[in-house]
């Protein structure tokens, strides 16, 4: 009976297509309520922060106002002011935007460099692989923190872009190694050889065949990396090696807490930024974990 029905259905209706990648991810997100809430939170925060930052005037916010130093939250300043009389709420918005921008920029740039480097090294192998991996090793042994400190001292004024470039220069190696190891595995598969027998060039095989087959790994690591990069930027700014106070970021807001007085009595300066960093990183992680499960059929919940 059942087979009969199936046959009839096959003839009458269009045969069901297997779920696409996006619908699998969506199913996974719907199953995992925490990840769904996290994703909504991320979208809302991102849209809100980038939207409001368009209206806000950064120069206005970072201008020192001696008449309103250390004001607690109130009607004029929703989240109070810092020791320069600057509006914390405005700094929080612009700071979140800057931190997010850096996180996304660094993730994308390290991703591109890592993918190109790792794919080329892994796909060609041999001496090319050897040379490229030694270059990677060289970058890995460089003391990241020290060089960033030197950079900050040398470069007179840096923007979101230049700061991202500095961070990118020292953060692409992990991805390159990861993608190389995957590419090494992937290039041995018959479909790569089969594609060669069709007359495809190496670069075409690399970027249109091997790359899509390791894309799930790349998407997951890049998502989880985004959280790391935001945390890293905040850490550097907290230590004073990130942005100056004229360019607020979540890290610069945190760094006010280095003052014991602020830490103890003026919670409104550093608590919102800390909570926001925590929530952002947790939310990105949750989404990343859901993506990770979606890419592996054995772990899927949906």
């Amino acid at each position: 009976m059942e087979t009969n029905n199936a046959n009839v259905n096959e003839d009458n209706t269009k045969i069901q297509k297997s779920p696409s990648g996006l619908s699998i991810i969506w199913r996974e997100l719907v199953r995992d309520k925490l990840a769904l809430v996290s994703l909504i939170f991320l979208i809302v925060i991102t849209v809100f922060v980038y939207g409001v930052a368009l209206i806000l005037d950064q120069d206005e916010i970072v201008r020192v106002d001696l008449f309103s130093i250390h004001e607690p939250p109130g009607e004029e300043f929703i989240l109070g002011t810092d020791y320069g009389g600057r509006d914390i709420f405005g700094q929080l918005i612009i700071g979140t935007r800057n931190s997010l921008s850096i996180g996304i920029l660094v993730t994308l740039m390290t991703g591109v460099i890592g993918i190109v480097f790792g794919l080329v090294a892994g796909y060609f192998g041999g001496n090319i692989d050897n040379i490229m991996m030694r270059i990677t090793d060289f970058f890995m042994i460089l003391p990241f923190l020290m060089i960033v400190i030197v950079f900050v001292a040398i470069v007179p004024s840096y923007s979101v872009l230049t700061f991202s470039l500095i961070m990118t220069a020292f953060l692409w190696m992990g991805k390159a190694r990861l993608i190389r190891s995957k590419a090494l595995q992937e290039k041995e598969l018959d479909y790569v050889q089969a594609s060669k027998t069709l007359g495809s060039s190496n670069f075409k095989i690399m970027f249109t065949q091997v790359l899509p087959n390791i894309s799930s790994l790349i998407i997951v690591t890049m998502t989880l990396n985004l959280a790391n990069n935001i945390g890293l930027e905040s850490g550097l700014s907290f230590l004073g090696f990130g942005f100056p106070e004229s360019t607020p970021s979540l890290g610069t807001l945190l760094s006010y807490a280095r003052n014991p007085q602020t830490l103890e009595y003026r919670w409104w300066i550093w608590v919102p930024a800390s909570v926001l960093i925590l929530l952002l990183m947790l939310a990105i992680r949750n989404v990343g974990e859901a993506l990770k499960r979606a890419t592996d059929a054995r772990q899927r919940r949906g």
Binding site: I15, K17, S18, G125, G126, L189, D190, Y191, Q193, A194, S195, K196, T197, L198, G199, S200, S201, N202, Q209, P212, N213, S215
Partner: protein
């Protein structure tokens, strides 16, 4: 005699193992004509696939010496760009395992279309799709319009092998190399696939190199047979001569190892030992001598060469003149094979 399509002369493919090069394909010469199936048989590890990969130029880091003349053009030392023009267009390859030979993330239509696109940039999208569906129909896939949009994991093994074949023949190549095309398939599908390859051969007037270790496939498909052992060809002949009067001890052992329904055998013949690994391969003397120890040393040639025993029938080494299968009971006593 019809036109020579591919002529391999003294091909030597060596792989590097710990700073030394070891030849996996050693001094192989063979030729394929148009509309002819040349079968290459041999045990696992005797260099069949290495030979096929050498012809297609798929070895990444191997030293390839000798000539591979494809339509009077030496493709052994050709630039990658020129080789890419030939591959897929004039030469196609069917792979052993259809499970891995297809890109899991590409729709079937795109995979076959890629072969068309690479060699014919002017073909419009609609025409390409028509051509792909035509190809799918040709290789006997039901509902090609539907399969066009499916992914490899949605198809069965036999269907996938058909897709692999469709990809290989997309541009109607003159030379088709089939590397054990039926090993991964079950018996009923095997015969269908073999019939399909035969049909395509007649359609396209193509030369086919069929690599297999299945003597049944050889009998079914081949016009000529080359028997390979340890990187060398030990016997070449047309298929009828070979099946009627195999000469080389290795060929005879192979035939003897196949179950025979006509005669009742209590035990199957087993060729002693295994194919030696690349590094341990004896480079001098008869390479098969180690596996037929009861044949006297003097029976082998010092430098075994292919001798023409009858027109078109070549045998390596002289040991075939002195070779006899040992008495099976004695063999068991001596070597403990049961």
């Amino acid at each position: 005699m019809s036109e020579k399509l591919l002529e391999v002369k003294n091909l030597k493919t060596s792989f590097r193992i710990k700073d030394d090069y070891y030849a996996a394909v050693d001094d192989v010469s063979l030729s394929v004509n148009k509309n002819e199936v040349l079968a290459i048989v041999g045990e696992s590890g005797c260099g069949k696939s290495a030979l096929a990969f050498s012809i297609m130029g798929l070895h990444n880091r191997a030293k390839i010496e000798g000539n591979i003349m494809f339509k009077n053009q030496d493709i052994a030392n050709i630039s990658p760009a020129k080789l890419n023009k030939l591959r897929g267009n004039n030469m196609g390859m069917i792979f052993q395992d259809p499970l891995t030979a297809l890109n899991p993330l590409m729709e079937i239509g795109d995979q076959i279309g890629e072969a068309l696109l690479l060699h014919n940039k002017d073909l419009s999208k609609e025409k390409r799709k028509d051509k792909v569906i035509q190809l799918l129909t040709k290789v006997g896939i039901p509902r090609p319009e539907h399969v066009y949009e499916q992914f490899p994991h949605e198809l069965s093994g036999g269907m996938r092998q058909r897709v692999v074949i469709a990809t290989a023949i997309a541009n109607e190549p003159e030379l088709l190399i089939a590397d054990e095309p039926t090993t991964a398939l079950d018996v009923t599908i095997q015969s269908q696939i073999l019939d399909l390859i035969k049909e395509l051969k007649d359609d396209m007037d193509a030369g086919i190199i069929m690599i297999t270790h299945d003597l049944g496939v050889v009998a079914e498909m081949a016009d000529r047979v080359a028997v390979m052992y340890a990187g060398q060809i030990v016997e070449v002949s047309d298929v009828y001569t070979l099946f009627e009067s195999p000469l080389h001890p290795y060929t005879r052992s192979l035939f003897n190892s196949v179950p025979n329904t006509a005669e009742a055998q209590s035990k199957l013949h087993v060729i002693q030992g295994i194919v030696p690994s690349l590094q341990k391969l004896p480079r001098e003397g008869c390479r098969f001598s180690a596996r037929i120890p009861w044949v006297e040393e003097s029976a082998h040639e010092e430098h075994p060469e292919l001798h023409e025993v009858s027109p078109g029938h070549f045998v390596r080494c002289t040991c075939y003149k002195h070779f006899n299968f040992p008495d099976s009971s004695k063999e068991e006593q001596q070597h403990g094979i049961s």
